[in-house]
């Protein structure tokens, strides 16, 4: 029988390397071996605590690939494959979320601001935050303040993330942050995007500016600690 720690190690490795399930051809060096799907099932069957499976198995695997990505030793597709592997395992943890045995670190609501259609950067942030153990609500592109406000109603302790890629939609970001601040002065609001900087973040009353996805993950980890 596999030792619990060994099982969690294998699960974290499967996630890190993006091995979704036994049938998955990627990565070639794990061909034919069990993936995150099978290993997560095995861990549950072995009686490991779901919170431990999530923390030491899945999030550890995602943290490792996230760290390699930050160091320039992995590319986004490798991150995406890891995220897919994590999702395959999460299916088995779903009932434990419903029963309260497992908890996410928090809820992160993200969207590209009104009038702006750029979403590649936003999608990368969403993926990395999810991999760090947060529930991500992705509102998509061209999102107005009222949709963020509606999510605050649904998830009272959520953190908001907004992205703008154009100088003209930065103005919309400012208006949206103002609208949200009018209703909720303390809400953590993260902002990012090519024309945005820390000074603009301060000026519009947002909480934190992140120049890259890893910066978002690190700041969220501090918030959740």
């Amino acid at each position: 029988m596999t030792e619990p720690n060994d099982l969690l190690d294998r699960l974290s490795t499967a996630v890190e390397l993006g091995k979704t399930n036994q049938a998955a051809p990627y990565p070639p060096r794990l061909r034919g071996q069990p993936g995150a799907d099978e290993l997560c099932r095995e861990a549950i069957a072995a009686g490991l605590a779901p919170q431990e499976i999530l923390g030491q198995g899945l999030i550890t695997g995602m943290s490792r690939i996230g760290e390699r990505f930050s160091q320039g030793k992995a590319f986004v597709p490798e991150m995406l494959l890891a995220a897919r592997a994590m999702s395959a395992a999460m299916v088995h943890l779903k009932p434990f979320f419903a029963s309260g045995q497992v908890r996410r670190r928090g809820v992160f609501v993200i969207g590209t601001v009104a009038g702006d259609l750029h979403d590649i950067g936003k999608n990368i942030v969403a993926m990395m935050v999810e991999g760090a153990g947060w529930e991500v609500v992705d509102l998509g592109v061209d999102v107005k303040a009222d949709r963020f406000l509606a999510e605050i109603e649904r998830h009272p302790s959520c953190v908001l993330g907004m992205s703008a890629l154009l100088t003209t939609t930065m103005v919309n970001m400012e208006k949206m942050v103002g609208e949200i601040r009018g209703r909720d002065a303390e809400r953590p609001i993260f902002v990012g995007g090519a024309p945005v900087n820390a000074e603009f973040c301060r000026k519009i009353g947002a909480t934190f500016y992140a120049p890259d996805p890893q910066g978002v993950v690190e700041r969220l980890a501090k918030l959740a600690a």
Partner: protein, 458 residues
């Protein structure tokens, strides 16, 4: 594919300032006939664009264009193209875009009448179909506003009609992040090609009706996005280099439909279009650092007929407002190239060699822009019967050149990057030549919440 031979089969003829089929504009700029002209692109500082703010918006455009024209004259520039790449609101409310074209055209005309200075406006509306998710490429209500701006903007003085169209982008975005070369090929060589046919038949018709020039398209949201993602370390540079090559087939369709050039700058597929179709092209490189980083700053100019800065905000710098500052940089860049042209062919080839040599060993994206490689890859593409085959052949040839350069230690390429090469080759080899077979292979895997095949006639 309608092109089966190269307009420029000898790489020594693929040079800056000359194209086999020059284009003459209304005020007499002759593009591709021995002079490289600056092409200035600019955007607003952070501000809202709407009817209420239009006076402020117009004040910005007036100041940008009048100062750029004055500085261009002061520097004895041979001419100038001003690219009016609209902001979304200017396409969604075409009357705003039209008023701005009228304003800029008035200033261009005044400079021509008073000083004999030749300038033209490239009118580039947004492809606002991207606003719908999933996009409705053929039935979008946004098409009406886009074409109203083309039509009325052309009548108001927009001389060179262009667009950065987005057909296939909803599939390409995901493929890009997954480094899925089959997905990229499907997005560009099937969806992109089909959409380009639909769109460019109409744009060419507008140009004919209004007496304007159907310039060209560029795969900005594809090739340029890939380059920027690669610069950030998000995707491998070898993959981004292949994306650029594959994007050629979709952009070429504009020429097949009747576009005459100058092709647009941002996607960097221009040198291929020049080699294949002989049209003049606009390129951007080192002087576009105001908009984004790039590993192709010098080599990008190797075949340019227009030299662009991509886009710069109208903000104050020490030397003046940024568009005027960038106009000056573009003018000095092109003045240097024009001095080389005046000195003769051997000087042109020497300058080009330095442009190539300074970039080509450092990045695979620069390697595929070297004229010799452009001709080799383009030559492989025109052997194809179908667009899919052209994309696959071109990408495989590019891969051969990248691997050969690595083998000769003539290209800097990390082991991490090199690890992707066999996988890319394997996936490219699995792509069938026939579009129908490829569609059959790819359709079941498409996320139909993100794309509507019927909007591409599939």
């Amino acid at each position: 594919m309608r092109f089966h031979t190269l307009a420029i089969p000898d790489a020594r003829d693929l040079v800056f300032g000359h194209a086999p089929h020059p284009v003459t504009t209304r005020r007499g700029l002759v593009l591709g006939a021995g002079t490289v002209y600056p092409e200035l692109n600019f955007t607003l500082p952070p501000m809202q664009v709407c009817r209420e703010t239009l006076p402020d918006v117009k004040a910005h455009y007036h100041q940008i264009v009048s100062e750029a024209l004055r500085r261009a004259r002061d520097l004895h520039a041979p001419g100038l193209v001003l690219e009016f790449e609209t902001l979304l609101e200017m396409t969604m409310t075409p009357s705003i875009g039209v008023e701005l074209v009228e304003l800029m055209n008035g200033l261009c005309e005044e400079a021509y009448q008073k000083h004999g200075f030749r300038s033209e406006i490239r009118l580039t509306p947004n492809d606002s179909r991207d606003f719908d998710r999933p996009p409705r490429m053929r039935s979008s209500s946004h098409l009406d506003a886009m074409f109203e701006l083309f039509e009325r903007g052309a009548a108001a003085g927009g001389d060179l009609l262009s667009i950065e169209s987005t057909g296939g982008k909803e599939v390409h975005d995901d493929a890009l992040l997954m480094c899925d070369i089959k997905g990229v090929t499907f997005a560009l060589a099937v969806l992109g090609v089909r959409d380009m046919r639909f769109l460019w038949a109409r744009i060419v018709e507008v140009a004919r009706r209004t007496g304007r020039i159907a310039g060209g398209d560029t795969a900005c949201g594809f090739g340029n996005t890939a380059m920027v993602l690669a610069e950030k370390g998000f995707i491998p540079k070898v993959f981004a280099a292949l994306v650029r090559v594959i994007s050629v087939v979709r952009t070429l369709v504009a020429v097949e439909e009747g576009a005459t050039g100058p092709d647009k700058d941002c996607g960097y597929e221009g040198p291929y279009l020049k080699a294949i179709a002989g049209i003049p092209i606009s390129m951007e490189g080192k002087t576009a650092a105001c908009a984004h980083g790039s590993p192709v700053g010098n080599v990008a100019a190797a075949c340019a007929d227009l030299w662009s800065n991509e886009s710069v905000q109208n903000v104050k710098l020490l030397g003046g407002f940024a568009p005027t500052v960038y106009l000056e940089q573009l003018e000095y860049d092109t003045r240097f190239l024009n001095a080389a042209i005046r000195d003769g062919r051997s000087t042109v080839l020497k300058v080009q060699q330095l442009q190539v040599e300074s970039d080509v060993h450092l990045d695979p994206q620069a390697l595929v822009l070297a004229p010799q490689n452009v001709v080799a890859i383009a030559g492989e593409m025109v052997k194809a019967r179908t667009y899919v085959e052209a994309a696959r052949r071109g990408a495989l040839r590019a891969l051969d050149l990248i691997e050969a350069a690595i083998g000769e230690e003539a290209l800097l390429c990390s082991e991490q990057e090199q690890g992707w090469l066999p996988r890319l080759r394997e996936e490219l080899n699995a792509i069938p030549d026939e579009e129908s077979a490829f569609v059959e292979q790819m359709l079941p895997a498409l996320d139909l919440t993100k794309t509507i095949p019927a909007e591409y006639g599939l």
